[in-house]
């Protein structure tokens, strides 16, 4: 037992001594070490590895548009981009890919090879193989107003006049030929009379126009009616021509 204890103690002492020697020499070596930077260029140092970055702006384009690639490298002797070939170590280039492309850059130098890449997404229109879901084209406002003209009313009346009936027929034909068009019919009154009654009268005017279109075959679900009464005016003068301007059913595209 005693001999064994003695053996362990001896081992510990040796170990402690070795550690302390090592620690002392370590300290000493650090304090007096030579800074290689202070000695000027070291021709024998291994070359640094190249660095490389590549970006694209914008990252996503429509077919036919172009994108600007921009790359920066360091410590490289030759730089290549897949699909483009050898390029300068730093540079920009405008490209117009026809499909989504991964631009992969390889920078080679004495220190090795570094790679970088950027993906440019190209939005290609869906090929018109499938039929379009619906014809959402309402056409232009100008074409609409040329064919669907506002109708005007006599004073305190919501019956369509002969000229309004003709206009409504023409409008109905246009709307039948352009099934995507939805219409807001606004009812208006001149500013004589009382606000509440005129709102009800404007409702009757807009509904009279709506009824004419529905009778001529336009689906009722495509027509929306709003009465503005005398709350919105097309003109504000105090004479018959102005009042006539305000007594109307106005057609607008319900976009």
């Amino acid at each position: 037992m005693n001999a064994m204890h003695a053996g362990i103690r001896k081992t510990l002492v040796i170990a402690a001594t070795l550690i302390s020697i090592g620690a002392v020499t370590g300290c000493h070596k650090k304090a007096s070490g030579i800074d290689p930077n202070a000695l000027g260029p070291a021709p024998a140092l291994p070359a640094a590895a190249p660095t490389a970055t590549i970006t694209a702006d914008p990252l996503a384009i429509d077919l036919g548009q172009s994108v600007i690639l921009n790359w920066r490298t360091q410590n490289a002797t030759s730089v290549t981009i897949d699909g483009i070939g050898d390029v300068n170590t730093n540079g920009t280039q405008t490209v117009a890919p026809s499909t989504s492309t991964n631009f992969h850059l390889t920078a080679k130098g004495d220190g090795g090879t570094t790679e970088a890449s950027v993906r440019v997404t190209v939005r290609v229109p869906v090929a018109p193989t499938a039929p379009p879901p619906a014809d959402n084209d309402m056409g232009t406002d100008a074409a609409f107003h040329e064919n669907v003209q506002d109708v005007f009313f006599d004073y305190d009346s919501y019956d369509l006049r002969p000229d309004a009936t003709a206009a409504a027929s023409k409008a109905a034909a246009y709307l039948t030929a352009h099934p995507a068009i939805r219409v807001v019919i606004g009812g208006y009154c001149d500013d004589r009379g009382s606000a509440e009654y005129n709102l009800a009268l404007g409702e009757n005017r807009a509904n009279a126009a709506r009824t004419a279109l529905v009778s001529a075959g336009v689906q009722a679900s495509r027509l929306r009616v709003i009465s503005y009464g005398k709350e919105k005016q097309f003109c504000t003068e105090d004479n018959e021509s102005c009042w006539q301007q305000n007594r109307r059913a106005q057609f607008s595209l319900d976009r």
Partner: protein, 456 residues
Amino acid sequence: MHRLKRTTLLWRAYIGCLETLLLLLAGASALHAQEGFKTETSSGVSNIRIAVADFKPASADPQTAAFKHTFDTTLFADLSNAGIFDIVSKSLLPQAIPGAPAEIKIQQWADAPTSAAMVAFGNFGVQGSKIICNGFLFDAKNLQYPQVLAKQYNEDASDDSARQVAHRFADEIIFRLSGGSQGIAESKIYYVKLTGANKEIWQMDYDGANQHPLTHLGTVSISPRISPDNSRLAFSSLGHDGFQIRMFSLVLNRMVNFASAGGTNLSPAWSPNGKDIAYSSSRSGDPEIWISDASGNSPRRITNFRGPDVSPVFNPRTGSQLAWISGRTNLPQLYVMDIDGSNVQRMTDGGYATSPSWSSNGQFLTFAWDRKYGPGAPGGQDIYVMEIATKRWIQLTHDGGRCDFPSWSPDGRHIVYANSPDGKATHMKIMTMLADGTQKHELTGVGADMPNWSWK
């Protein structure tokens, strides 16, 4: 000295204690002669001559003078507006200002030149953050027991409080001296205020003070109608689907729900029990009168006739009839029916009639009427009152430009309305008058329209 009283027709409903006999005499004579029915009395009933003393300052607080001035001015205006008093000019009052019953020498006020039948006086002071006000009403003809009324008020010290205290004291005096009808000095008026291209709903006191906005919806909101208990305001507002009924809670100070419906929905009106709303709805394709509950549920259609039907108003006394405007025979006319749609009666015989309001005693309609409507026709749109039982009417405004949206005061003695001297919609302002057409004066500047007087 005694001006003829022109408000008799409005008095007949009141059973008074002071002037019962005179009122009954006046009522019996009210329906004879003149166009339609008569609003003058030939019985020589005079308005009560009342002296309104400036109140005596009761404290040295620096705020007292300003608040007391507001109080004195408001009290004097309230009693002047009431339409039942002959107010003694302040220059004819005795020099000494009484502040309490012990300080008044009542004989001085009864003698010429004051010659008052009644004297309102008292004291007014500010103590700490409170207004303390004592008001008295003395009968100058009863030297032994002159006191009719004594009231004490204790309110937070502010200009608005001073005005409200004056309104409350004025209403007490009016209640005692009018034969029991409630004063209106504490009532409110709701109206449409033009704000650029938009219209918002505003509120003011009955005398035009304290004008302030309620809604901030940024669209065209019209036709405000206050509920009988002053808790909710129904109106109509332009949105994506046209005009719809909207509801504002004055208790919560925000919009609350009202079920929307198809078509244009317009001109709400409260039933006197506050449970139902009548309005114009074109959900069926033609504007008709509908009634739903106050949340817009359980709608039922009342009218069924081609043409605009709009602007309903309940009989506030019975709740069982509606007056409204219908264009079923072309130009809009005034009609009355039961709320189940039966017993339709046409009230006007031509012209262009709009905007009815029904008096609280159920006897009268006021409305806007252009009797010779049409291009080049003479005359204009004026305010009329019609006695429903006889269909006889009187014209209250003359040659003052376009008038519209008359609304009865709760006591049935006043009518508030909108007026534009040159007829332009943007020049509308709110006016008030006695129900016989006298004492017209402005409550607002231009840009105010569609007034609606609260129910109490």
